[in-house]
Amino acid sequence: MRLAALAGVVATLVAVTAGCGGGGGGSKSGGTSTGNSSVKGTVKFWGIWAATEQKAFQKVIDGFHKQYPNVTVTYQSKGNDIPTVLSTAIAGGNPPDMADVAQPGLVKQLVQQGHLKPITYAKPTISDNFSPAWEKLGEVNGKDYALLYKASNKSTLWYNVNVLKQAGVKPPKTWSQLISDAKTIKASGTPAYSLCGSNGWTLTDIFENLYLRRWGQAKYDQLSAHQIKWTDPSVTKTLQDMAQVVGDTGNIYGGVSGALQTDYPTCVDYAFATPPKAAFNFQGDFVSLEILQATKSKPQKDFNVVPFPTITPGPNAKAVETGGDLIITFRDTPAIEAFMKYLATPQAAEIWAKLGGFGTGNKHVPASVYPDPITAATEAPLAGATSVAFDMSDNQPASFGATTGQGEWGIFQKFLQHPTQISSIQQQLESAAAKAYKSGK
C-alpha cells in the first residue's frame, strides 16, 4: 500500500517534468474495429488512482471510447482505502463492475469468497502481450482472474554518479562486481552503502531480490508459502550473499547502529546528499521522486539507476520483484470484456507510459515510450523479465511477514547486527514462520 501511494507521487512528478515525452512506439492495432460499435453498455470502475494518475487513466479510457463508441467507462477514485470500500460494497450487494487493487492477497481472498469473475475471455490477448511469468501473477487456482496492468520494479539499485566517478568504478552488473566496487569505493573515502535498517521491510526487500535472482520464481513462491523451510540451504546461501553487504560494517554509512536508526527515506537522502554520504542505495523504482525532492541531485548527472545486480547467470539473471495494481472484475458483460481486453493491449499501456509513473510487463511496449531515461531504465526491464514475483509478505501471514519489530522484519534487523550468525538467524526465522503459519490455520 505504501508503495502504491509512492508510485502515485512519482507519477505526479514525472508527468509534470516530462511534458515533452519522447515519441511513442509503433502502435499495434488492438482489436478489429468492425463490430466494435455493436458492443453497448456502461462499466463502473473503482480504483486507487487519484489526481495525476486519475487523469492519466482517463486518457486510457478515452482511447478505449474511440474504439468502442457505445461503451461508457466511468472511473471513480476511492484512494488507498479501496480494500475497505470494496468489502463494504460487496457486503451491501453492490460492488462496481471492475476495480483495481494493489494487494494480491485481497484478489485471492475475493476469489475464494466467490466474488470475482474469471477473465478467461481475455487470455488470448494477455498471452499475446505478456510472458507467462507475468500472466501467472493474475492467476488464482490456475485460472486468470486479474491483470497486472500497472507494475512497479523493486529490483533496482540506485547509485551516486559522482561517488562512482571519484572511485573510478562503473555501475555494477553483477553481485560480485558490486562487492568489489564497494571495496574500491571504501578506499576512495566514501562508504559504499546507505541502508534504512530502521524499517525492516527495506532489509527483507534486499533478501527477496537476492533469493529470487539466485533461485528463481518457483522456489521463491515455495518459500513465501512456507513449503520450503527457512532453515533450507538455499536460504543459507542467500543470507551469505546478503552478509557480503550487511557484514561489511565499515562500509555502511553510520555503521550498524547508525543504519538501524536510519528510516526510509532518510537513507535515500544520505546517498544523494551534497557532499554524498554513501554510494549505493537498494530501493525500488519509487525513490526517484524522493531524490529529486529532498536532494539537489540531478537525474543521470548526479544519480542514476541500474537493475539489481545479477547473482548467477542463467534464467533467473533478470528476475524482477514487482508490485502494482491488479485489475479485477465483479461482473461479466460484453462491455466489461471489451475493456478488460483493451487494457491488456500495448496501446492501453503506452498511453499512460508516455505520461510517466507507469511500468508494464507488456512485452510489446518499447522502452522508447517512457518519458525520460531514468523511467526507461527502471521500467523497461519489466517487459524483459523472465521471472517475476510479488513481495513475499503478500503470501505470508502478517504476523510473520509484515509486523514492525516482530517476525521477519525484526529478525532481519537482528541479522544486520549479527551478520555472521546465519544459522541462528535461520532458526529464528523458521520458528517465527512455523508459529505464524500454524496459527494461521
Partner: protein
C-alpha cells in the same frame, strides 16, 4: 484498554425496600434514568471485556475462530518479544511512579521557597500540555546519535572536543597489510635501516578530507644516514596499485610520523611535508620501524546510541518522567498548600531542622496525595503505549516493547486476535489490583 474502566463508579447503594406503589414507580423512574448509562456501559465496557476474555481462548482470526485452550497464554510467555514487553513493563512500573512522585515532591517543596513560583511551575507543567506523540518525536530528535542532529550528543561532543581534538585523518585505513595497527596508530611491519625508505600508504580518505595544501606524492630516493619516506593517499580512481606511489595520488601533509628503534621505543618524531614526504636525519645504524602516531587517527566524538537496543528503555523512561513530573508537582503542591501551617510551625519551634520537618511532618501529612500520584502513575505506566511508538525507531521497538504496544501489534498488525486478546486479558489482570486499591480509597474518602 481495560484500564479505562477505572472511570467506572462503584454501583450506587441500593435503597432500602419499601413495598408501596409510590416507591415502585420511583424505582421505575430511577431505572429509566439509569438505562442510558447502563446501555453505554454494557456496550462499551462489559461486552468488550467479556468478549476479549472469551476470545483469548480461540485461534487467530474470525469472530471466534477455533478453540485453542490456553495456547495463546503459552505463546504470551514463550515468544521473546512478548516476554521482553512484560519485562520492560516491570521496569517501567518499578522506576517511573517512584521517580515521578519523588521529583514532584522535591519540586513542590522547593518551589514553595522560590520567588518565581508560578513561572517555575508552569515550565515544569508545560510538557503535560504536549501530546505524548509530539513529545516522543521531539525526544527522538534530541536523542539522535549523530552529534550534528541530536541535541544531547551535540552537548557530548562540545564537552569532548574541549578535552581532546580529533585527528586530521580520523577515517583513514592502511592501504596494504604491511601497515598494521599499533596502539591506535599504524606501524610499518618491514624493518628499516639508515638509507631506507618507508612507504606509508593510506586509503579511506574522501577527497574533501585531504588536508589543505596537499600536493602530488613523491617517493624519496633514500639518503645514507637518514630514514626517509612518504605518507600519501594511496588511491586514484579505479583503486590504483596499493603500496605504489602513482601519478595523481596526493601526499598527506601534517601527519605525525614516529620512528621506533628495535625495542619499540620512539626515538624521533616529525611531521610530513605537503608532498607527504618526511625524513629522519642522523639515524645511527640499527633496525628501526616507522609508523603514524595515534593522534592522527583520533576519532571525533561519535555520540551515544540512545535509540539503540541497549539504551532505548532508559531513554524512554527519561522522556516519560519529564512529561509527568509536572503533573506530580501540581497535585503535590496543591496538597502542600492545603496543609495546616501551624503543625509545621510547631515542629520548627520545637527545634526540628528543615529536613526533619520535611521527613517527619510534611511527607506523612502528604501521604494520601503522594499515594494518589503514585497509583495514577502505576496505572498510566502499565498501559504506556504512545511514547514508545513515537520515540523508539522501528528497529528497536522490539527491545523497547511494552505490553500495550505488543497487544496492538499482535492484534492489529499481525492480525492474531487470539494472542492479542490474551495479552489484553493479562494487562487487565495486572491493572485489577491497582484498581481495587483505588476504588477502596474512593469509598474511604466518600
Amino acid at each position: 484498554m481495560s484500564g479505562q474502566s477505572i472511570t467506572a463508579e462503584p454501583p450506587p447503594a441500593a435503597a432500602p425496600p419499601e413495598p408501596t406503589g409510590e416507591a415502585r414507580s420511583r424505582h421505575l423512574t430511577g431505572g429509566l434514568f439509569l438505562l442510558p448509562a447502563a446501555i453505554l456501559l454494557g456496550v462499551w465496557l462489559v461486552y468488550p471485556t467479556v468478549y476479549t476474555i472469551v476470545r483469548s481462548f480461540f485461534g487467530q482470526s474470525g469472530y471466534l475462530g477455533t478453540w485453542v485452550g490456553i495456547d495463546n497464554y503459552k505463546t504470551l510467555f514463550t515468544t521473546s518479544t512478548l516476554v521482553t514487553a512484560i519485562k520492560n513493563n516491570a521496569i517501567w512500573v518499578g522506576v517511573v511512579p517512584a521517580f515521578v512522585t519523588a521529583l514532584g515532591l522535591i519540586f513542590a517543596v522547593l518551589t514553595e521557597r522560590v520567588r518565581w513560583v508560578v513561572a517555575f511551575r508552569t515550565v515544569v507543567f508545560l510538557p503535560m500540555a504536549i501530546s505524548a506523540f509530539a513529545t516522543g518525536i521531539t525526544w527522538r530528535l534530541m536523542y539522535q546519535q549523530d552529534p550534528n542532529l541530536g541535541a544531547i550528543n551535540a552537548l557530548g561532543r562540545a564537552v569532548s572536543s574541549a578535552v581532546s581534538s580529533p585527528g586530521v585523518l580520523s577515517n583513514a585505513l592502511p592501504s596494504t597489510t604491511a601497515l598494521q595497527t599499533h596502539g591506535g596508530g599504524l606501524l610499518l611491519k618491514t624493518p628499516l635501516h639508515p638509507g631506507g625508505v618507508a612507504l606509508l600508504g593510506l586509503t579511506g580518505i574522501a577527497p574533501t578530507d585531504v588536508p589543505q595544501g596537499a600536493r602530488q606524492a613523491v617517493k624519496p630516493a633514500g639518503k645514507s644516514g637518514a630514514i626517509e619516506g612518504v605518507v600519501w593517499r594511496d588511491f586514484k580512481p579505479g583503486g590504483g596499485k596499493p603500496g605504489v606511489v602513482e601519478h595523481g595520488e596526493l601526499g598527506l601533509p601534517g601527519v605525525t610520523i614516529e620512528l621506533r628503534d628495535s625495542s619499540g621505543k620512539v626515538v624521533q618524531t616529525t611531521k610530513s611535508d605537503p608532498n607527504g614526504s618526511f625524513s629522519f636525519k642522523g639515524v645511527s645504524s640499527g633496525s628501526y620501524q616507522a609508523g603514524i602516531g595515534a593522534q592522527t587517527f583520533a576519532k571525533p566524538f561519535g555520540g551515544y546510541s540512545w535509540l539503540g537496543p541497549s539504551l532505548i528503555t532508559p531513554a524512554l523512561l527519561i522522556a516519560y518522567i519529564w512529561i509527568w513530573a509536572g503533573f506530580a508537582l501540581v497535585v503535590i503542591a496543591s496538597g502542600l498548600a492545603a496543609m495546616p501551617r501551624e503543625v509545621l510551625e510547631a515542629a520548627r519551634t520545637d527545634g526540628a531542622t528543615e529536613f526533619q520537618v520535611f521527613r517527619r511532618v510534611t511527607v506523612p501529612l502528604l501521604a494520601p496525595v503522594l499515594s494518589v500520584v503514585f497509583i495514577t502513575m502505576v496505572i498510566n505506566v502499565l498501559k504506556v503505549f504512545d511514547i514508545v511508538i513515537a520515540l523508539a525507531p522501528e528497529s528497536t521497538q522490539s527491545n523497547a516493547n511494552v505490553i500495550a504496544l505488543a497487544m496492538w501489534r499482535t492484534a492489529f498488525s499481525g492480525f492474531d486476535f487470539g494472542t492479542g486478546s490474551a495479552i489484553a486479558v493479562f494487562l487487565f489482570l495486572l491493572v485489577i489490583p491497582v484498581l481495587a486499591l483505588n476504588i477502596r480509597r474512593f469509598r474511604r474518602e466518600a
